[in-house]
Symmetry: D2
Subunit: 258 residues, 4 copies
Amino acid sequence: MNIMLIGDIVGRPGRSIIRETLPDLKKSYNVDFVIANAENAAGGNGITKKIAEELFTYGIDFLTMGNHVWDNKEVFDFIEEELRMVRPANYPPGTPGRGSRVVDLDGALKIGILNISGRVFMSNLDCPFRTADRELEKLKKVTNIIVVDFHAEATSEKQAIGWYLDGRVSLVAGTHTHVQTADERILPGGTAYITDVGMTGAYDGILGIEREPVIRKFLTQMPSKFEVAKGVSQLNAIVVEIDKTSGLARKIQRINIK
Amino acid sequence: MNIMLIGDIVGRPGRSIIRETLPDLKKSYNVDFVIANAENAAGGNGITKKIAEELFTYGIDFLTMGNHVWDNKEVFDFIEEELRMVRPANYPPGTPGRGSRVVDLDGALKIGILNISGRVFMSNLDCPFRTADRELEKLKKVTNIIVVDFHAEATSEKQAIGWYLDGRVSLVAGTHTHVQTADERILPGGTAYITDVGMTGAYDGILGIEREPVIRKFLTQMPSKFEVAKGVSQLNAIVVEIDKTSGLARKIQRINIK
Amino acid sequence: MNIMLIGDIVGRPGRSIIRETLPDLKKSYNVDFVIANAENAAGGNGITKKIAEELFTYGIDFLTMGNHVWDNKEVFDFIEEELRMVRPANYPPGTPGRGSRVVDLDGALKIGILNISGRVFMSNLDCPFRTADRELEKLKKVTNIIVVDFHAEATSEKQAIGWYLDGRVSLVAGTHTHVQTADERILPGGTAYITDVGMTGAYDGILGIEREPVIRKFLTQMPSKFEVAKGVSQLNAIVVEIDKTSGLARKIQRINIK
Amino acid sequence: MNIMLIGDIVGRPGRSIIRETLPDLKKSYNVDFVIANAENAAGGNGITKKIAEELFTYGIDFLTMGNHVWDNKEVFDFIEEELRMVRPANYPPGTPGRGSRVVDLDGALKIGILNISGRVFMSNLDCPFRTADRELEKLKKVTNIIVVDFHAEATSEKQAIGWYLDGRVSLVAGTHTHVQTADERILPGGTAYITDVGMTGAYDGILGIEREPVIRKFLTQMPSKFEVAKGVSQLNAIVVEIDKTSGLARKIQRINIK
Ligand SMILES: [Fe+2]
Ligand SMILES: [Fe+2]
Ligand SMILES: [Fe+2]
Ligand SMILES: [Fe+2]
Ligand SMILES: [Fe+2]
Ligand SMILES: [Fe+2]
Ligand SMILES: [Fe+2]
Ligand SMILES: [Fe+2]
């Protein structure tokens, strides 16, 4: 089976290119299930129920999040009951929403999705490695097909968790940096890995954001109001071919279109 | 003309694959000048005169550095007089070595090389943007062919300086994360750009380092002694085709071999 | 002569205790000039013209700022022309406002006030040490009586700049942590020093802020809206006795009242 | 009963002043039990069995640690069996040593000692708040007399845990910044609190370390070898008077001697 994971969707330009290209991409790559990181889907900051529904309409089946999960307060209206969405599992116990979920695909296949956040240069969350162990113990009882979105900054932490989970999950895909990396591979134990899937949004922005205020902030070190950039869009994603029984990966391909 | 820039060389595995493959690569890509980031060339930490000489023997013409420039004390023995080497230009005035240099290629073409470090999640150096302005003012009087190695962690800072320097230099190439990115492009002003060139060293390590101690450090949060990893090597680089007169880029290609 | 420096004023509780106690304090300590850090004076975030005027009414002569200087947009309306105010001098050239100013006291004595920000665990500003050198070169031509508000987080950076400036200025007083330190002293060269003057605001808050949202943020790692705390106020300050001719300090006393 | 807690002991100058003054201080303050933070006791970095024994000889009854706990490898030789020592409790499960211990004083009174590390600007350890809850559940079954050494950088995190534990422990004393704060108080619930106890070591160093290399590091941003400073010593401590039955504090006094 083929699972697609789309890199951080940034605002309207990200949603537009998904609407325009996802149906064809799904056909070309024979995709069975589409996951997308949606932490920046609503105007660059967080998510709303309306935008989540919009994304589902375009052919996305499931949403992962990251450090921007709480940016838009409307997330609290639906994160508890929305079964097609996870937020980083290493938030403390009691946090709204779920860090992992299992989805039934056509009533036959079960897919486990696990979202974890890194800690290096990020928030003080619980240990991502031990959180992964704990969540996998639950998920592995239900399915071998497990996708991990590791939302993190540091390449060391990302590669470390990739190797740590090798052979135990189908895919460890990094998100958060908004730049696609060219290091996709199948690790020796059978887990597909990429350090960062990249960004789906304005191609001529800085990480999908209007350039001028970002550069000005670096120059002045003063607060700056960021807006989603306009213009041509890019879509960054990967497609992983997974063995239905073992859950191990056979192939990982990068998608990088404008 | 074609300039190659090789991503962070990590220890012996990095040097070996350069020795074995660089001569052929230079032919295939018709390379006129080879720059390499060598901040981890000596056992993963810094550089020595002996290892610099070794790298020049393999066909590298010029070395850039980064935050690990001072890791091996032997660097102080030769950084002042070595004309084929730069360290980040935004260290304070009085720092040993130079942040930019101009090289005469075959007595005809002049190539300016500028090394700058990012500040986000890194050291408290001088402003990289203003440092670039200051150094370019000098370099532009001598040549239009200018290569910038921007050694930085955050993708935002890297893309920002790429756009900031667009049209003023031939290439802005990121280094430091040890993972090659897939976002190489020619910016509208004519500057070639990539967020990170990647790493040249052990393919099965974590950023070129032995995996077990790195993972153990994440798990235990205790100090851990890191060694360069062994086994198969990878070489990460880019080749940029540059117009000799304008100094602008015509083409940028990624190289990622094992 | 005696100069008083009041620690970070946080919102209305901070302003109230100043209104109520400053006149008497000035008499008891025979104070000639009062400086206050006002980066949190307006509802905990930044400053406005109205609140600056209010503070001048209470007997404060001069305001210093810090990392929160830009939090309230109204600061831009008056920071350029307000001669009784400085912001950190190590913001880049072109930043609104001034990093140092000289005030004429009764047309006779000149007092130089220099505001600098630390970099450790803070913003990527210019080097505070070199900035101090540059600003002092200007100020020393006009007066020996120089007060430095070093707005910084790390105790190492604060003590380092204290010793670095010893003998060159009257006082190096730390601000920003909102907790008064008990290490006030006259350094061997004659400069009065304290790592942090402390906070002037609600005594039962956390750094002057309502406790519950701060604790909740630590527990949940989710965004939290902070408000200035209510209840009993504290005033933290120091008074330094300075030799008018040499500008060196004779005595430093802490003030910590409720 | 009276418990003394001595702030971070830095190398030989710290140990010397303890040897010379502790016996008299214990008499003057009528101290029943002496705890000291010893993370920098061995040449500024970590602890050894020999130095721990030396400190016990001088009249210290118990040692707490911090982020420098592992700096000297010899700590692994004795941290497991040494009953008079704790390291931060929020290291992951499986970490050598213990985060809390109970000591029998004269076979009658039981004193619980809990060491926790902050996370802000520090290592990625487990949540200090939840760790405190977990450890206190155990300790409270045995005794009400509980001392918490919260080894942390940020004043916000320190005040937050103080208020969080108010009424549940005898004392929350901050360590790590090496500068004594002047905010000692009894919180409304009966817990004694101070943001930082301070440093016991060379008075004319920077945090107990030789000044010149520290200042040079700030100026050059290059690596610098630090040594413990020499000269006059200071001793920073607090003494807390505790009700034996309730475990609540009646009084907290700072000690700051040279
Ligand atoms: Fe993110
Ligand atoms: Fe994102
Ligand atoms: Fe490197
Ligand atoms: Fe680096
Ligand atoms: Fe403040
Ligand atoms: Fe501040
Ligand atoms: Fe310490
Ligand atoms: Fe410490």
